[in-house]
Symmetry: C2
Subunit: 215 residues, 2 copies
């Protein structure tokens, strides 16, 4: 814990952090349509979440609304983007340039949400030394050396499942503080390491199952 | 509701469907290591979820274990893959060939989990008529015509947020039954349409927020 500690951060529940981007995109649309002010009631109607919940979620964000008028829309957009970390660029390394890993390297859109992939790692000789979308691909054996030249906290995990844990251990040993896990494998990390699981396959499973009703 | 109705499907809770792919990947690894049988206790230890929960989740899947021995590992892998819908190929269209949409078209790995993107739609003249990864890109105006030639239930939504709802309405009107929503916009659909939200940006927001503690 040092001077970078955000004293409010520990109070923000994960569901709130997941709903705030919905509000942000809705507010951006309202701005496009010419609105200058927005109330939690208006947001509530758009995103179909109770107004009291919207107001509570927004209370974590340091922005003041005016009675009967609501929030200044430009100020709210700026404060939300800042709060969510979308303005500051966070550097990341990607581990495993397979099909999904390569696809993520192609997605420049992540930089609009604060994530900049600055390097990727793999073991295959035909990939090492090449670039995808301007992002250099290194051999995993050079991880420590590359890490020494870059202050990178985030590692994106897109290796095959049989390497998921081993690669996670290597990332953490090398100084990675947050693992964005795209594999369907449940990785184990020390307590102070942040993990976010994005399982495309789990979402597919739910979708396929629910589709059985209506086909 | 017709003869394709899976009479057990409505009983499978979404968290179970999200955990089953974890068990599947763990079991596959155990098989690689030479195991022939696996118990829910063993799975439990690997994925760090209580054995009673693992057993309950597996009870939705039609597979019989043997006392003291556990499940035949090949049979369990096959039954799980089938149950999760990863064996049968489900066709999908993708809507919006921007940065993320284009990236998903590059990800051939989705086909190992039962999803085959057979076409994509956009409005930009420079894209229409081209292919990415062998997948043809059509003009959105041709959606009905292309849909008539393909039996496609799943639509992947990767348009900018200001087109998310309008495009969803168009997809549903054209016969799409399930929307895999990658936009940070909360779309509204009729009751009988399946929606899965995969918000990469929400996961980023959580990760950035949690990182504030340990930087």
């Amino acid at each position: 814990m040092d001077q970078y500690l955000n004293k409010y951060a520990d109070k923000v529940p994960e569901p709130t952090l997941q709903r705030l981007p919905w509000y942000l995109s809705t507010i951006k649309l309202m701005k496009e349509k010419g609105e200058a002010y927005v109330s939690s009631t208006q947001i509530s109607k758009q995103v179909n979440i109770e107004a009291s919940q919207v107001a509570k979620d927004l209370s974590y964000v340091n922005v003041a609304g005016r009675t009967r008028v609501g929030y200044d829309i430009d100020a709210l957009i700026h404060v939300l983007e800042k709060f969510l970390g979308f303005i500051e660029l966070h550097k990341a390394f990607l581990f495993g340039v397979g099909s999904l890993g390569g696809a993520l390297l192609h997605d420049s859109g992540l930089s609009h949400f604060g994530l900049k992939i600055v390097g990727a790692f793999d073991v295959r000789a035909e990939l090492v030394g090449t670039q995808i979308n301007g992002i250099p691909i290194y051999h995993i054996d050079d991880f420590e050396k590359v890490m020494a030249d870059n202050r990178v906290n985030i590692g994106i995990l897109t290796v095959p499942i049989n390497h998921a844990q081993e690669m996670t251990d290597k990332m953490v040993a090398g100084g990675i503080k947050a693992v964005w896990n795209f594999t369907p494998f449940r990785i184990v990390v020390p307590e102070d390491i942040v993990v976010q699981n994005t399982s495309l396959y789990a979402h597919l499973a739910v979708m396929f199952n629910r589709l059985n009703f209506i086909q």
